[in-house]
Amino acid sequence: MANYFNTLPLREQLAELAKCRFMNSSEFADGVEALKGKKMVVIGCGAQGLNQGLNLRDSGLDVSYALRPEAIAQKRQSWKNATENGFVVGTYEELIPTADVVLNLTPDKQHTAVVKAVMPLMKEGACLSYSHGFNIVEEGMKIRDDLTVIMVAPKCPGSEVRAEYVRGFGVPTLIAVHEDNDPKGEGLALAKAYAVGTGGHKAGVLMSSFIAEVKSDLMGEQTILCGMLQTGSILCFDKMVEEGIDPGYASRLIQYGWETITEALKYGGVTNMLDRLSNPAKIKAFDLSEELKVIMRPLYNKHQDDIIDGTFSRVMMEDWANDDANLLKWRAETAETNFEKTPAGDVEISEQEFFDNGILMVAMVKAGVELAFETMTAAGIVAESAYYESLHETPLIANTIARKKLYEMNATISDTAEYGCYLYNHACVPLLADFMKGIKTDVIGKGLSVEDTGVDNKRLIEVNTALRSHPVEAVGAVLRGHMADMKKIV
């Protein structure tokens, strides 16, 4: 199998990368009609598989689960998940031949094996659905010509996909049709009905392409989402301890700080996150982030370049073939970092204090979001995609750190994201070594100790204008506007 993206002429590569459109809610007027009465068979019953299946069934659709014989025989967790929730469970041989739509919701790494096993069993003219396009785009999996291939990717963890549905809402969802596999021209109708079935249409649906999804998803998760938060956690913690801050306090400030400051990001973008700081602190954070952007830009460019030309996926797949040697080594190293090993102290930190004492963290989030967004859009990915894969998902990842630090984050995200995260971290920690030498507790740990909170008017106006006129803020305002009336769950 060859990298599919690299087989396309540049013209088509650019066209595919640029595909992304925020769909109008009137486009979902047909509801789940296109899937009514069809047999949907889900492969994999983990968090995404189970929760999407629960939603689809509650939307009136026929859902069952195909598991490997050993998972059934040994009554593994996936089997328990499916049967205790009252789903029909069977082997691939039993269920796949009856399926009108097969939903491949297994981890990325298993895609090749799963699709190879499933494809011969699928009936003529059926539909194969993915929630991530890595297998098609990077691994170059070729799907039988008579099969329709679509992607429906809720942009949240599986538990949230379910929780939002139960509340009467949904999570933002990306859909795409693989143009090479749309023999009956029904791919879009099926993908839309699927998005309605999971509740995604209520929160906003992006019509994208397999290529745009893969190239932006990989970029976001490696850099700002996971990589930046991991690197930032490690650097900020070590700096605070070095400067004599109580380790328990430092651990708490970081573990819960990302979540708190990115909550402000979720509500009002980078602008609102910085507006939570005092004027002098805001200017400080802005200056730091400008500095960080200059230092880190080559790294972001390298990640994006390696993703676009397939270097990243090739190297990672070599590691897969090598029994995950690098992944496992890096995972073990992460567990040994001081931040990871120091439990959060039993101290009270108020919501505002996370901002006031975490100026550097705010600067890192700003720099990471803007760099990821700028790099993606420079590579031909449209702003909407870039927004979702950078700013939108940052709070979701920050929540996982609040739950159980880096361990939880890396356990929750895909192996692909985890691999990319370590890759970023290994390059970024040394890259910021000099920068960190100049950092003191005024920007991480204690807050500014200025007597006078006055600032220069001219400088403040410059900073505010720069914040507000960044392109990620413009597209963010529009996309958040679509969710404004509804997304009020805290």
Binding site: G60, E84, V490
Partner: protein, 474 residues
């Protein structure tokens, strides 16, 4: 001021017309009380006990002063009846004029000077020579007030003293009462909270002949809750109408709302619900009870569609045989649902008004724009709950009890054919429990909703529920 008045385990019979039960009440010197409650709850009876009315059947009253001044409709009626009797008793063929007002006020008067000034202030100067029984009701009431006030009482009991007074007189009386608070402890019966004078320090709430609550006015929360309770109990407002624009699909009246056939829920080998048959007909209110772990909530969630195993059971609800392509929202539209779990899940920063409106959409939080009519109906509900002024306050800043009330309104806003109340009083204190029950009773009175009520507190009974299903722990 005097000594502590104590009513202990007191049961009083009022000519077999009314009984007070097991009253425990302590009135300390310097306290001024208001007794409140609904009509017929026993407010006046409790006040009258302090004036020595009624036959004590059990318990004790200690510390009552000798000189108690009492103004009430009952005392007023009694006095007038006495006057009329005097007339009847006169066997001579002379027209009796009865006792003149002057005598009524000044005979045995302890403080003639005060009496004179009050006569003037009440505008009775020109009526002093008139026969008491010739006065209007309002005028006899004023005479009674003057008599009581000028008797230098050690305890003053005023049952609805402000009823029927014009604005000026009312202000004058309130000012006078305020001027004697240092010397005269007072107990008032008031129906309307807004008439409560500032100097009142404590409130007693009476329900069905029992003193169920006493509240220190300084306790703002308790005081507000009492206000709401009284508002719910006494307001004439009825349950707001449904929104014609959100009309539910019609149900076949010959079909049951719910039919569970051999319903079974199990996790692995653990059976939670075993072969349960249950049919709920339209208009048939049910109470479901059983110990913890007996599967009450599980059974409910089979009906609401929240339990995944509803797809593996034989369940008929609202015209749908489950598992035939219906969506969960087609089921939920017929159900109003309230539970502690819902309250935990309803962690939103949205306004109180939006919480009510979200009931139209069966959603937690609001994800669509509400219509003007929906907003209007939500306002009517807020008025019913006595929470009009809190329409725009964030829901998550409300007290636990107020949240529960709002969620009940949310459940009812669309007038669902089935209202499920899963332990609606769980976690609520006494006051809030009464509030919730008062609201539910109000709902049961004026609507076509079938109520399914889950609880295990016998005292939280609701009028009108006649069918019981008891679950046992498996």
């Amino acid at each position: 001021m005097g000594s502590i008045i104590r009513l202990e385990n007191l049961c009083v019979n009022f000519d077999d017309r009314f009984n007070l039960h097991n009253i425990e009440w302590t009135i300390e010197p310097n306290q001024h009380w208001v007794i409140t409650g609904t009509n017929g709850a026993g407010k006046s009876a409790l006040a009258a006990v302090l004036a020595g009315v009624g036959d004590i059947e059990n318990g004790t009253v200690t510390g009552l002063p000798n000189n108690v001044g009492l103004v009430s409709f009952e005392a007023q009626a009694e006095l007038i009846a006495k006057e009329l009797k005097k007339d009847d008793a006169d066997i001579m063929d002379v027209i009796s004029l009865g006792t003149p007002v002057y005598e009524m006020i000044f005979d045995n008067c302890q403080d003639p000077e005060l009496a004179h000034s009050l006569v003037e202030k009440f505008g009775l100067s020109k009526l002093l020579d008139r026969a008491f029984r010739k006065l209007s009701t309002g005028e006899t009431r004023k005479v009674m007030l003057i008599r009581a006030l000028s008797s230098k009482p050690d305890l003053l009991i005023l049952d609805e003293p402000f009823d029927g007074l014009d604005v000026d007189t009312l202000a004058m009386l309130q000012a006078h009462l305020a001027s004697i608070i240092e010397t005269t402890p007072m107990v008032m019966v008031l129906n309307r909270f807004d008439e409560m004078p500032d100097f009142i320090s404590h409130v007693a709430y009476v329900d069905q002949g029992k003193l169920t609550l006493t509240v220190d006015k300084k306790d703002d929360n308790a005081f507000n809750e009492l206000y709401q309770l009284l508002h719910l109990k006494t307001t004439d407002l009825s349950v707001p109408e449904a929104d014609p624009a959100n009309k539910l699909p019609a149900l076949d009246p010959s079909q049951p709302l719910v039919k569970l056939n051999q319903a079974t829920i199990k996790y692995g080998d653990t059976v939670i619900v075993d072969k349960l048959d249950w049919t709920i007909q339209q208009g048939q209110h049910w109470q479901l009870s059983g110990p913890n772990g007996s599967g009450k909530t599980c059974v409910l969630s089979l009906i609401t569609g929240d339990h995944p195993q509803c797809y593996t059971n034989d369940i008929f609800v609202f015209g749908f045989q489950r598992g035939n392509g219906e969506s969960i929202w087609q089921i939920k539209q017929f159900i109003g649902y309230v539970s502690t779990a819902l309250q935990w899940e309803y962690r939103v920063s949205t306004s109180c008004k939006n919480v009510i409106i979200s009931g139209f959409y069966d959603s937690i939080g609001m994800y669509t724009k509400s219509t003007d009519n929906q907003k209007k109906i939500a306002d009517q509900w807020l008025a019913l709950l006595g929470m009009k002024d809190r329409a725009d306050q964030p829901f998550n800043k409300l007290s636990y009890g107020d949240q529960r009330l709002l969620l009940i309104a949310r459940a009812m806003v669309k007038h669902p054919p089935l209202l499920i109340l899963d332990e609606p009083c769980l976690g609520l204190d006494d006051m809030n429990r009464q509030l919730v029950l008062a609201l539910i009773e109000k709902i049961c009175q004026g609507s076509e909703t079938t109520v399914l009520y889950v609880n295990h507190h016998a005292e939280d009974k609701i009028e009108g529920i006649e069918n019981y299903l008891g679950l046992k722990k498996n």
